[in-house]
Subunit: 152 residues, 2 copies
């Protein structure tokens, strides 16, 4: 679980400056724990606390934080990049169940894929760093609604 101080220290260690704009950005970031936020959403949150921060500053900060590994880019095909905080104690990334009807994203923790990973590393001569599983379908809410309709 990363905290603000940890990120700030890492920034300095990397030779980056810790500016008020970045501090606010990191602050807001912390309130987005467990969420998939877009740069625009982050920008809105930052602007509430400091209206003078520019959009490109947010983009640049997000880029740095991703390089540093504090956030990860996700793509849910909704038109813009989304990010989420990386939790340090997370051994493997969680999976996402994405509803094709309402777009809801349900998270799911599961180490089930470890067996598959071993298989891949052996069979394919591939060193695995990370993986991402997206499961598309219909959530319980939408299944009720669409019952009887044709899904495809």
């Amino acid at each position: 679980m990363n905290n603000q101080k940890q990120i700030v220290d890492a920034l300095r260690k990397r030779g980056n400056k810790v500016t008020p704009q970045r501090l606010v950005t990191i602050e807001v970031l912390m309130t987005f724990r467990e969420q998939h936020f877009s740069v625009e959403e982050l920008f809105q949150g930052v602007k509430q606390r400091n209206p003078d921060v520019g959009m490109s500053t947010i983009y640049r900060t997000v880029q740095i934080l991703e390089e540093m590994g504090f956030i990860t880019k996700r793509n849910f095909d909704d038109g813009f990049a989304r990010y989420e905080l990386c939790e340090l104690d997370e051994k493997h990334w969680h999976h996402h169940l994405i509803c094709l009807k309402c777009g809801k994203v349900i998270e799911m923790q599961d180490d089930f894929l470890e067996v598959l990973e071993k298989e891949i590393e052996e069979k394919k001569e591939f060193i695995i760093i990370n993986h991402e599983l997206k499961v598309y379908g219909y959530c319980s809410d939408c299944y009720g609604i669409t019952k009887g309709e044709q899904f495809d």
Copy 2:
């Protein structure tokens, strides 16, 4: 395994017109079997056979073919949408191993996830239509090269 005739018939059945431009596009599509092609690449192939076809026509055709389920959109974070032909006899989509160094995409057929799917459908009350697994890491070529380097 879809063939050209199958797509053409489906187009007409859907109320779409079968134009020379679309015929060429589908022809080129067939040569891209097993590949992850971008719209730009498809456009280049089409232009070789008919230089007068416009880019927007390709975009529109691709959109229709995706709606019809003949091709699927993929995202490999290289800046543009990529597509691949859907093989009808494929029960479940294959997975992709993506090399973080050279960007190579290795395909992998595996029904391993069926067990996981059952688990998800029960535990999460979620009707699964499809899934997508991306595994990031280093391919055998790049592992040799990067040996000794720090991966992250």
